[in-house]
């Protein structure tokens, strides 16, 4: 029989090896799934791990998907590190897209390029405001931030539905539930001609640096992490848990809102009921797989984007449902959590 034994120190090596181990197990389960469905597993793996990265075009598409994931996951990492369970980033993303989209719709012939800045700022403000509801209800009434933030996802989706079916519907849109197409002047500037990837990638990379500095180089970041690891110690040190709660939620809400505005004024170019694409939930997985570390999040976001693109390719080329992406994403988090046990414990053969 095997049994678990607590390690004297958490293993740094396992903390880095665990995501790789989880990826390996998920891949094996994926191969089993392909075989079960009667598909060539090699072709299947190719869709997920080779096709997305084999060309510059592929990397451009990866960048488009990874940008919102990185931005949202960075905010969530700050939240989870301070033991604030914001799982409603999807709603904050949608409200950010609504706020940014509203600014984009105001553009006219007299608008200058600076409107892009206002779109992004509006997105940040929208996401922050939506997260502030959760923070306020938690702070003032002690209502579970898990349930409140999640309920607000459904509310945000319905709000989007109301706007694109109602007041914001394009009058010349043949009655489709969609806003007007934003003017070209509002488009997020692209990095290269001919590819879809835009300056969102640079914003995401800048945010990685900023988040790293916040977490590991500032007093507020330190207080935040102590509050998450040892609430009693934080109280004794005089760190305000309320401050941490507000900081974590406003930051992650703002980041999710920024991602929403980038998406609305970037690849989408208008508001439709399909704004919520699940980035807010996938980013939870990205944050955990990236070890809640800003640099790790870059890699896990790229991996998760490969899952997205692989799923789309599996649909068009292998005739598999696109939702296979969700299966793999869920499996990855599941196996990661199982593998994480080895950070704190080691396996020993029990003496009988």
């Amino acid at each position: 029989m095997l049994r678990l034994e607590i390690r004297p120190q958490p293993s740094k090596l396992m903390s880095l090896a665990s995501p790789l181990l989880a990826l390996a197990i998920t891949t094996l389960l994926g191969i089993a799934l392909f075989l079960l469905l009667g598909k060539d597993p090699l072709r299947g793996l190719q869709m997920f791990f080779w096709e997305p990265i084999k060309s510059a075009y592929g990397w451009s598409e990866l960048g488009i998907k990874a940008t919102p994931l990185v931005l949202i996951a960075l905010g969530l990492a700050v939240c989870f590190r301070s033991n604030v369970w914001n799982i409603g980033a999807e709603g904050q993303f949608v409200v950010g897209a609504l706020a940014g989209g509203w600014v984009a719709m105001q553009a006219d012939a007299s608008s200058g390029r600076s409107i892009v800045l206002w779109i992004l700022l509006a997105g940040v403000a929208g996401g922050m405001a939506w997260a502030a509801i959760t923070a306020w209800l938690r702070d003032r009434f002690n209502a579970s931030e898990i349930l409140v933030s999640l309920m607000l996802v459904y509310v945000a989706d319905l709000l989007l539905g109301y706007l694109v079916y109602g007041p914001w519907k394009d009058p010349n849109g043949y009655n489709f539930p969609q806003s007007i197409s934003f003017l070209a002047i509002t488009k997020i500037p692209k990095l290269f001609d001919g590819w879809r990837v835009n300056i969102g990638v640079l914003i995401a990379l800048g945010s990685v640096l900023a988040c790293w500095a916040l977490l590991f180089r500032t007093y507020a970041g330190f207080a935040l992490q102590v509050g998450g690891l040892a609430p009693a110690a934080a109280r004794y040190a005089g760190f305000s848990s309320r401050r941490s709660l507000w900081l974590a939620l406003l930051l992650s809400g703002g980041m999710a809102g920024l991602a929403g505005a980038l998406e609305a004024a970037g690849p989408l170019g208008q508001l439709t009921p399909y704004v919520p694409a699940g980035y807010g939930f996938a980013a939870i997985i990205v944050a955990f797989v990236g070890r809640l570390h800003p640099v790790g999040i870059i890699f896990s976001a790229i991996l998760m984007s490969m899952f997205y693109i692989g799923g789309e390719l599996a649909q068009s080329r292998l005739g598999l449902p696109k939702s296979i992406t969700g299966v793999f994403q869920g499996l990855l988090l599941f196996t990661l959590l199982a593998c994480d046990t080895l950070i704190h414990y080691r396996i020993r053969r029990a003496r009988s």
Partner: protein, 306 residues
């Protein structure tokens, strides 16, 4: 009058699926474990139940399949959090995310499928009483099953030895362990029971309540059920009442839409979610009220011999 009777009947019907799931989660949480995977378990159970009912033609086999699927997923979650000491919130979230993806994946070929004609139920004799009959006695058997379950659970938790042990495990696993109770196995049993009941509720949605399969059709009912256990401060009778209250809120939106109220349907659809937030705020603001019945070790890991 007729429409009010139907509104009451619909409220009971909508409340039942929340009640079954929330009562399951209550058993789960009484053992000290929070399972945020309710939504995922209900989704997988919904497609498992629906597919089984389509192929076999039997609703009851569908329910059984839903319960099996729920219990199986809960077992995987249970092993993670009980034996491997994984963070309960993270593992539950993983289950919800996986359940959403997996159910969409396997359900894709069932989106056009239809179940046979839905049976009508009537309690002999009582169903023909004017007003009361159509309001209360023409329900699916599980509607009465949910009431029986709540009553039984009240007896089980507070009047039976096994219930006392379950509560002890949730209050102080160390003490229960010291007394020689197999804390981990009891917790696994509670988690799997919770999963089976969430599964039953999920299958009820796709086989009886809707009845069809659409991706993501649980639409937050699992999360509302989780909120219900807090709302009801972990008391079975209050769970039942709370579930009917939410069932009423859900039905109110359809009723108002039917009456031609001049509010956009999206705002009416927000009602159950806003009501959940409102109720959480009301209940949570009184910390003592919550703490009085909350299992003391809820959400805390237990590692025997540590």
């Amino acid at each position: 009058m007729e429409s009010i009777a139907l509104l009451i009947a619909a409220t009971l019907n909508a409340g039942t699926l929340l009640a079954i799931a929330a009562l399951g989660l209550l058993i789960n949480e009484r053992s000290g474990i929070v399972n945020l995977g309710a939504e995922g378990m209900m989704l997988v159970a919904a497609i498992a139940g629906f597919a089984t009912a389509v192929h076999t033609g039997s609703d009851w086999l569908g329910f059984a399949a839903g319960m099996g699927a729920g219990a199986l997923l809960a077992a995987a979650f249970g092993v993670l959090v009980i034996w491997l000491n994984t963070n309960q919130y993270a593992a539950g979230l993983a289950l919800s995310l996986f359940g959403g993806g997996f159910s969409a994946f396997v359900g894709i070929s069932y989106t056009q499928a239809k179940l046979g004609p839905r049976p009508n139920f009537a309690v002999p004799g009582l169903a023909d009483i004017p007003f009361i009959g159509p309001a209360l006695f023409r329900q699916h058997p599980l509607v009465y099953g949910a009431i029986a379950l709540a009553l039984w659970l009240g007896w089980f938790l507070y009047r039976s030895r096994a219930g006392l042990v379950l509560r002890a495990v949730g209050e102080s696993p160390e003490s229960a362990h010291a007394l020689g109770y197999p804390v981990r196995r009891i917790r696994l049993a509670a988690v799997m029971t919770g999963g089976a009941l969430c599964g039953l509720a999920g299958a009820y949605v796709s086989v009886v309540y809707t009845p069809l399969w659409v991706e993501g059709m649980i639409a937050g009912k699992g999360w509302i059920a989780l909120a219900l256990t807090t709302f009801a401060t972990w008391r079975p009778a209050r769970v039942l009442l709370g579930a009917y209250l939410f069932g009423g809120v859900t039905m109110l939106q359809f009723h108002l839409q039917g009456q031609g109220v001049e509010i956009a349907s999206q705002f009416l659809s927000m009602l159950p979610y806003l009501a959940t937030i409102a109720v959480l705020v009301l209940i949570s603001s009184n910390a003592n009220f919550i703490r009085a019945n909350m299992p003391a070790s809820l959400g805390k890991p237990f590692f025997p011999g540590a």
